[in-house]
Symmetry: C2
């Protein structure tokens, strides 16, 4: 059984851990968001790829959801002592090593997909993790604050400003030229089902869907999405700030309409959102809060079960959904 | 009073601390060796510049003589977990930050001299530290071991092999094209005296002297050298392995002859080497072992005193030489 999933950071990574538990024999290919990537101190940082890699590889800081567990912050302190900016992005020492290795490989000419594969040989995430593109794309946010209207890197808006300044526009710089990384379209073509985790529909899943050819390839497959919105609020993170930037309500209904019936075949919503509907989409209500790894696996089982009901040749392992 | 000094790593840095104590009001310019520099994990490492900067700036690991005190090694452990080579060079986390800042500035187009000046604004070493050149030069060692005759980077020979394989030749790659860094020749021209610390005469001082124009500029000044050899053995380090590579005996006499009377006006030797002599050079015997900072200052006072006797307009501060 072959499954393709798209993923952003924390929420996507936790869902994927559940998906791997729900389908332990499946070949799972994860197409990772790289719109959040940023160059800091000359080092290329890929937050979403690393969150997936560390989470599935057992290296994540579980409490925080990102970064390495047992992390120290000596390098960051020293950079601050040199007065180096920015100081608002929290890179730990263990994490620094990942970025040093990645940057050295990129500088040597390896594409990001090859670098990611090399890093994963250490982490053994149990899935094949491919960046959405090897081309450089970056999500920039147009804001209008006391300094005037300007574009800032997504991370500056998200991490430094905690998305407190309204986003006027969200732009994926480089999207026009970016091609899917090698293996992305083939994995989609070969997939028995595609599962969209409850990742951010704008700056994670939405970013991946902007890479030429990926949405079109997905539209030919059985795609089941897990709503990132429960009862009018994001499952986690600040998806509402991103949705309002593109004029979409923070509801399971609105996100489904954003994705559209051409893409989505099955839509998993929380029980309080049972009234959601869209022509051509099968909507199923289930508990969607990922309290722990078991809950994530249960949601993944429900998503796979829904894909099966829709005709995808998928089998669900372990405890049955109710 | 203006003093120029040339310096390698540990021995040079400790001597310079003594020189600063012996001449607290002097403008001291240190021309640092960059032949030991190496690119590791994509980061530019300048061991001698950093040893001088950390030692004079109060950040050195006193016990070890190089690297930062209170150092940790998380990044190095993580790089090893990724299988990254080499693993024989000991970079600590605090030290990594220095190399990250340096590399970022170099990549942005700043010359090494400007980068060094910027790093020193944090460390306030109390001297002006200039790399011998902004051009890339690297000391390579020709060895002939079980893998055959080949050239290795100085650090591989020095650190990994502990200089245990005989050096057949020592080559400063890039020496022919390298120009002195901005400020180097002017500092020499303006100097009231030049003091050569007991640094390695081959791969530290000898390397600096290979940069076009530096030796010639020094020959016009009052130059006092402190012998790095005491009673037939290096004061510290493995200078004997370097001297034998160029066919020079490990004696205070042979090193003086290597430097030559055109360069050296005064030569400070240990008491057991009192018989050393060379036409045109004034030789003075003094205790030369740098047990501690006080001993280093005493040696520096003796060197300045000798420069004064030779006609240089220098004044010695603090406790008089005996």
């Amino acid at each position: 059984m072959r499954i393709v999933s798209l993923a952003g950071g924390i929420g996507g990574a936790r869902f994927l851990r559940g998906l791997r538990a729900a389908a332990p024999d499946a070949e799972i290919t994860v197409i990772g968001n790289t719109g959040d990537d940023i160059t800091l101190y000359g080092l290329r940082v890929c937050p979403d790829l690393d969150t997936v890699m560390y989470t599935l590889g057992g290296g994540i800081d579980e409490e925080q959801g990102w970064g390495r567990r047992d992390e120290t912050h000596v390098v960051k302190e020293e950079l601050a002592a040199y007065g180096v900016e920015p100081q608002w992005f929290g890179l730990g020492d263990r994490d620094f090593a990942t970025h040093i290795v990645r940057t050295q490989m990129l500088d040597a000419g390896y594409p990001l997909s090859a670098v990611t594969e090399a890093l994963c040989t250490r982490w053994n995430p149990g899935v094949r993790l491919i960046p959405m593109t090897d081309d450089r794309t970056e999500t920039h946010i147009v804001i209008n604050d006391e300094r005037g209207r300007r574009a800032v890197h997504f991370q500056e808006w998200w991490v430094r400003m905690r998305a407190s300044v309204p986003a006027e526009r969200i732009i994926l710089v480089g999207a026009d030229e970016a091609k899917p990384a090698p293996g992305v379209l083939q994995a989609v073509e070969d997939a028995d089902a595609v599962i969209l985790p409850p990742s951010n529909p704008v700056v994670s899943i939405g970013t991946i869907l902007q890479i030429k050819g990926i949405r079109e390839a997905l539209e030919g497959k059985t795609v089941v999405g897990v709503s990132p919105i429960v009862g009018g609020a994001p499952v986690r993170g600040m998806a509402d700030a991103c949705l309002s930037a593109i004029g979409v309500e923070t509801t399971a209904q609105a996100v489904l309409e954003l994705y559209g019936a051409a893409l989505i075949d099955g839509w998993l919503v929380a029980e309080e959102d049972a009234g959601v509907s869209l022509d051509g989409v099968r909507v199923v209500a289930r508990p969607l809060i990922m309290h722990d790894a078991g809950a994530a696996a249960e949601i993944a089982r429900a998503a796979l079960g829904l894909a099966g009901e829709l005709g995808a040749p998928v089998a669900v392992s372990g405890e049955e959904g109710r």
